[in-house]
Symmetry: C2
Subunit: 495 residues, 2 copies
């Protein structure tokens, strides 16, 4: 089997210190200048869109559009070649056809620090031309002293310095989450869901075929980067599995590393080969290796974002006693019984600990809510509160105060509440949890299922996110995110 990409790993056999790593990746994540190759006067071409997105995002460094005809575009001077640019360029974005790439690389030698190829049609295309081009890219990068991101990817997302993720130009708030994605599309979804759900990124990267810089490189960097507190990765395969797993092991000791390995099945692996040219090893081998490395394996984009969200919002959960004690509060409108039963199932089926509340807590809850029709052991059904805000807040406070409880999950169904009450009252119930989160040390997780009247519910989700309350659409997803959070605590304790 022909395996042209193996040679690149040699470059990294000398391990860099953290400071060297951070310097090495500075042109990629904190570029002072960006060149865009592949613009045209047609604004709907991808290169033009990309340039406009960078401008619109408010990138503060130098921007150099490149086109052989020169002239002016979007108010910027267009350079006829990279060679003409009056300084060393940190980051180059390329979307020209693959045939034109080798000549471009000659121009880039000793003139740029990193080149990102949106251009596809290399190793993943499966033809000889594509494979040969990849080899040529690597050779020219080594000779010309620059690094390659891709090809076949969207490259860098760096909200802090206003580098948008791709030509669509979305920029969210600056936070401490880092993502590494072999797929540009999945990266795009991560950025979008970040904006929608309040996951705030420090930086992200999509690296496609990863012929030079690969998952392990970015992981090593993000592990060293103090601005990143949790790393999420979408991987289809690895050029050098041994190195990747060693890197995951080191990274997991420093911060939580959440890995979604796709291409797990035969069909998925065949698709992965056409997508990023990845060879996908057996799913079982991956799962075992991930477990050993301390990385947290997730299974789809929902679980990846759920887990990033809970780590961002709740940090590292320090489990007490025999493990994490979860309490479930439901029934904020009438009829919390079924919710309580099914919520208990969702948590218990994942092995989460739902301790019976202390007799003191139960006595106080009985005084507050009355006996009949209420489930008060844990789960706690507060439907006897008659949706009274202060009773709900007090009951949840009592549960939070129970010594066996570390996290309280509140299921609050806006769609059901809005059938009985005006929005102002529903909103005031939601904000009771924001107050509790601020007043108490223990975390609150909210399950807010979709239904009708979505606009208000979604606005509220953003408010909760800002108050460090993670919100999930289903009890099962909340439970799984909490399980992932507590797994990392256990890993740190027990190794």
């Amino acid at each position: 089997m022909h395996c042209p990409a193996f040679s690149i790993t040699i470059t990294f056999e000398v391990k860099l210190t953290n400071q060297e790593l951070i310097r090495e990746f500075e042109p990629i994540f904190y570029p002072k200048s960006i060149a865009v190759v592949g613009i045209s006067q047609n604004i709907f071409k991808v290169g033009s869109l990309w340039l406009k997105a960078i401008l619109d995002a408010g990138f503060r460094g130098a921007i150099y559009p490149i086109h052989p005809r020169g002239g002016e575009f979007l108010g910027l001077k267009v350079y006829t070649s990279i060679k003409e640019v009056p300084e060393i360029v940190d980051y180059v974005i390329v979307s020209i056809p693959r045939e034109a790439v080798p000549e471009l690389l000659d121009d880039c030698a000793h003139k740029v620090k990193a080149i990102h190829f949106f251009t596809a049609g290399f190793g993943e295309a499966g033809d000889i031309t594509g494979r040969k081009l990849e080899e040529e890219l690597i050779r020219k990068a080594r000779q010309g002293g620059f690094r390659i991101i891709g090809p076949n990817c969207i490259g860098t997302y760096s909200p802090e310095v206003r580098v948008p993720y791709g030509p669509s130009g979305r920029i969210g708030k600056v936070g401490s989450v880092g993502f590494i994605s072999q797929s540009g599309g999945i990266g795009e979804k991560l950025v979008e869901l970040g904006v929608a759900r309040g996951i705030n990124y420090s930086k992200g990267i999509s690296f496609g075929n990863g012929i030079d810089l690969d998952s392990a490189d970015f992981m090593e960097y993000m592990a060293a980067d103090p601005r990143v507190s949790v790393i999420g990765a979408y991987l289809e395969g690895a050029k050098n599995g041994h190195r990747l797993f060693a890197t995951m092991k080191d990274a997991s000791k420093l911060k939580p590393l959440i890995v979604w390995k796709a291409g797990r099945t035969d069909v998925g692996a065949a698709a992965a080969a056409s997508h990023t040219g990845s060879l996908a090893a057996s799913a079982r081998i991956w799962s075992a290796a991930l477990r050993q490395s301390g990385a947290i394996e997730v299974w789809d984009v929902e679980e990846l974002t759920d887990t990033l969200l809970i780590f961002q919002q709740l940090g590292r959960l320090e489990a007490k006693g025999n493990g994490t004690g979860i309490a479930v509060v439901g029934g904020l409108a009438d009829g919390g019984g079924g919710i309580s039963v099914s919520a208990s199932d969702a948590c218990a089926e994942l092995g989460l600990n739902i301790p019976t509340l202390s007799s003191e807590t139960r006595r106080k809850l009985t005084n507050l809510l009355g006996r009949v029709g209420s489930i008060l052991r844990n789960p706690v059904d507060v439907s006897q509160s008659g949706s009274n805000r202060s009773v709900i807040k007090e009951a949840t406070g009592l549960v939070l105060a129970d010594p066996s409880i570390d996290i309280v999950i509140v299921q609050i169904d806006a769609g059901i509440l809005l059938k009985y009450f005006p929005w102002e009252l529903v909103e005031s119930i939601f904000t009771a949890f924001i107050e509790l989160r601020a007043e108490r040390e223990k975390p609150i997780v909210i399950v807010s299922p979709p239904g009708i009247d979505e606009t208000r519910r979604i606005d509220m989700e953003q408010q909760l996110a800002r108050a460090s309350i993670p919100v999930f659409p289903t009890m099962k997803r909340a439970a799984k995110a909490i399980l992932n959070l507590s797994r990392y605590s256990r890993f740190l304790k027990e190794g």
Copy 2:
């Protein structure tokens, strides 16, 4: 162990014919008159709200508010007692305190056909008074010649005759889905999600403690009812497991029966005992019995509604050849590679068959989409279409025409598309699938993940629902719903 409810099963040992069953349940699902006991001049009391909801919904039968003080309320004459009403009442809704119930029942003897108790505080309360009251209820029902629904439930939902589900009064479109829910709250969520996702009910019932009419009774009726094409059930336990399983076996032969058994875990079962007084048997026994009976077991409210939706929209899927051939189409905006890989995983991990498309189909797709950067075996990544509506429609049509394909799943991410294109173009891509669904015999399933710009996406989901296209928020949920659909086909074939 004291088991007061066993006696009721005797009543049903004489099996009714379908016609007798339909007549027996007519007062419950197609009442000609409804009495509401427990109203007051305070409109915010539950009885008053319930009365108002029935009026607002446009129930066309007679409505009799009952209150000892008489007078008038909401423009209706208030009767001081059921006895005073000038006719036999089909359906009585009761929300008075439990202590007042025995006297009410004396008034109802030979005067009403069915009584529904919203009132709680019976067997589920766990006290002697509650249990004794339940026994008294049963005795008086037998003597008085009426049936009991509940206690501790929301009762009937019957959109055809404008009986709303509970005091919140939501009524959706009339369809052919039936639901049976031990929990009122879960029933409420089913109705709400029905409106939101286009699941149209023929009827529904929540029966709480089920001391007289129980899950098996309603199941038997809905199996016999020609207006119901698929039945969904939320169960916490069964008073008579033997009879329930026999009923499920008979029902499954006639129409798909989707069962969510909650209270599966110890914690869930403890909550179920407090909720509806159910004794939950081991989860494994339930799963085995459900499988044997031909019922389709689901695990949460999401899977229950997903499965009801796909049965409603696609009917009974007749699997051809070696099973159901699924094709996945993705990449409607740029970057469909990661989606294709993960979509394949989601389907293949559930054991769905994703056959490689025929060489003819692949040749035609290659001509249409070009070679480079596209995944065309199945999954099919149409990102090379440049989001051109007619190319996307033609490509999907080619996939639908492939002889090994029975269902096509299209992943279309409105949030991503809207970053690049105006809504009009995104909408036109969605409607291409509505056209294809009308033009072709094969079903299309759409995965439309949430993100930002939810309002438009949700409107579109409703449009798709009206065109018999089921929509799911994640690939995994779509794949699971298809699996459940194909399981029923296999059960009908192989028994």
